[in-house]
């Protein structure tokens, strides 16, 4: 018992330490990313092209390729994807912002061009359907368990107890076990 306790304490402490280390690493990397972004803001105007490229890629990851419909236009090499990336780049160079470009694409291709379905009345079921199903399933499970629990408090009355004993007796006799004498009791 003592060994088990000692081991479980060790395990929980190990998990605790690992979590701390992971959190520290995560904090460090996010900090360094923020620092890198700040550095970028101080880059000379000549580097603006690289920034636009980064924005193009970022936007392209939010738009769906209509030809290879499981990919974004960032990932797809279909001719249409290349055309749309060029369109995005041109519009960014013209000074449009992300929302305007997204609206431009949706006006021409519809909501399906958004890689992430928008939150609308028509897509509410799509977004919350799985969670709803999970809740329904859990609810049904809870109900079922409660029903089962209700049976646990059954007490046999004297008559029912006798019936049970008789049934057990009969079963013991039927299996032709010579030691069944120990079960014999007065029947009435």
């Amino acid at each position: 018992m003592k060994v088990e306790l000692h081991l479980s304490k060790l395990l929980s402490r190990a998990i605790y330490v690992c979590t701390l280390v992971l959190l520290a690493l995560f904090a460090l990397t996010s900090l360094s990313m923020v620092y890198a972004q700040e550095q970028q803001a101080q880059i000379a105007p000549g580097q603006a092209d690289a920034q636009i490229e980064a924005k193009v890629m970022h936007l392209s990851h939010t738009l769906r390729c209509l030809v290879c419909q499981n990919q974004s236009i960032a990932e797809s090499n279909a001719p249409l994807a290349i055309d749309l990336r060029n369109q995005v780049r041109e519009q960014l160079q013209d000074g449009r912002n992300e929302q305007e470009i997204t609206d431009y694409m949706v006006a021409r291709y519809g909501d399906f061009v958004l890689y992430r379905p928008p939150m609308k009345a028509t897509t509410l079921l799509l977004w919350f359907g799985p969670a709803l199903l999970l809740l329904v399933g859990l609810g049904a499970l809870a109900l079922k368990l409660r029903q089962r629990g209700a049976h646990k408090n059954l007490q046999l009355n004297a008559h029912e107890r006798k019936q049970a004993r008789n049934l057990l007796q009969r079963h013991a006799l039927a299996s032709s076990n010579p030691d069944s004498d120990s079960y014999t009791e007065s029947q009435s």
Partner: protein, 196 residues
């Protein structure tokens, strides 16, 4: 108590119905947001006279079809007989939008001047129409595909039905078949024409 064990069966039937309905839908078709909206404005060079420009305003007060095609598009070859038939029967004027004739054929245009590319587009498109037949009242040249993007084109061929007020009333994805013509296009054409 007895009816309760039918519930899973009922749920299964419901699910089967839903899935059966879903299997009949084509997940690749993307509904167009341009239906009932004004046709996107554009000005493109004509195939028969590249110095002249065509705009949708030229077809005002007519019901017409805009058919997006290219010589490299195999499915366009399939529907071409239908288009020739439509033209022969004078059902509705057809305007062809030649889409990325050179770029779509994977020809490298980076070292080509715009004039050269246009010349090549005209050569290829004219050759194709000469050999396959020309059902179009006229064809316009969308060399870089920009006008295609304005129409939400993502797969050639596509056909748009435009009414007298310049609104897109119907978009058809893929080749036009006899079935499409009889059961979808002609009724739609009839409906749009009778609106006056």
């Amino acid at each position: 108590m007895k009816a309760r064990f039918l519930i899973p069966l009922f749920l299964f039937l419901l699910l089967a119905l839903l899935l059966g309905f879903g299997l009949r839908l084509d997940p690749r078709t993307v509904p167009s947001p341009l239906i009932d909206k004004p046709v996107p404005n554009f000005a493109l060079a004509r195939l028969d006279n590249p110095d002249k420009m065509f705009t949708p305003q030229n077809m005002e007060s007519q019901v017409w079809l805009l058919n997006v095609w290219a010589s490299w598009c195999v499915a366009c070859r399939q529907e071409h007989a239908m288009l020739v038939d439509i033209a022969k029967r004078n059902l509705v004027p057809l305007v062809g939008l030649n889409y990325k004739e050179v770029r779509g054929a994977n020809i490298d245009v980076r070292n080509m001047s715009t004039a050269d590319e246009q010349a090549l587009v005209i050569e290829r498109a004219q050759h194709w129409l000469n050999t396959q037949g020309d059902p179009y009242a006229l064809t316009v040249l969308d060399i870089d595909g920009r006008v295609g993007i304005d129409f939400g084109v993502y797969g050639v061929p596509e056909t748009f039905l435009i009414d007298t007020k310049g609104r897109i009333r119907y978009k058809h994805l893929g080749p036009i078949t006899q079935d499409t013509l009889d059961n979808i296009l002609l009724p739609k054409l009839h409906e749009v024409r009778n609106e006056g």
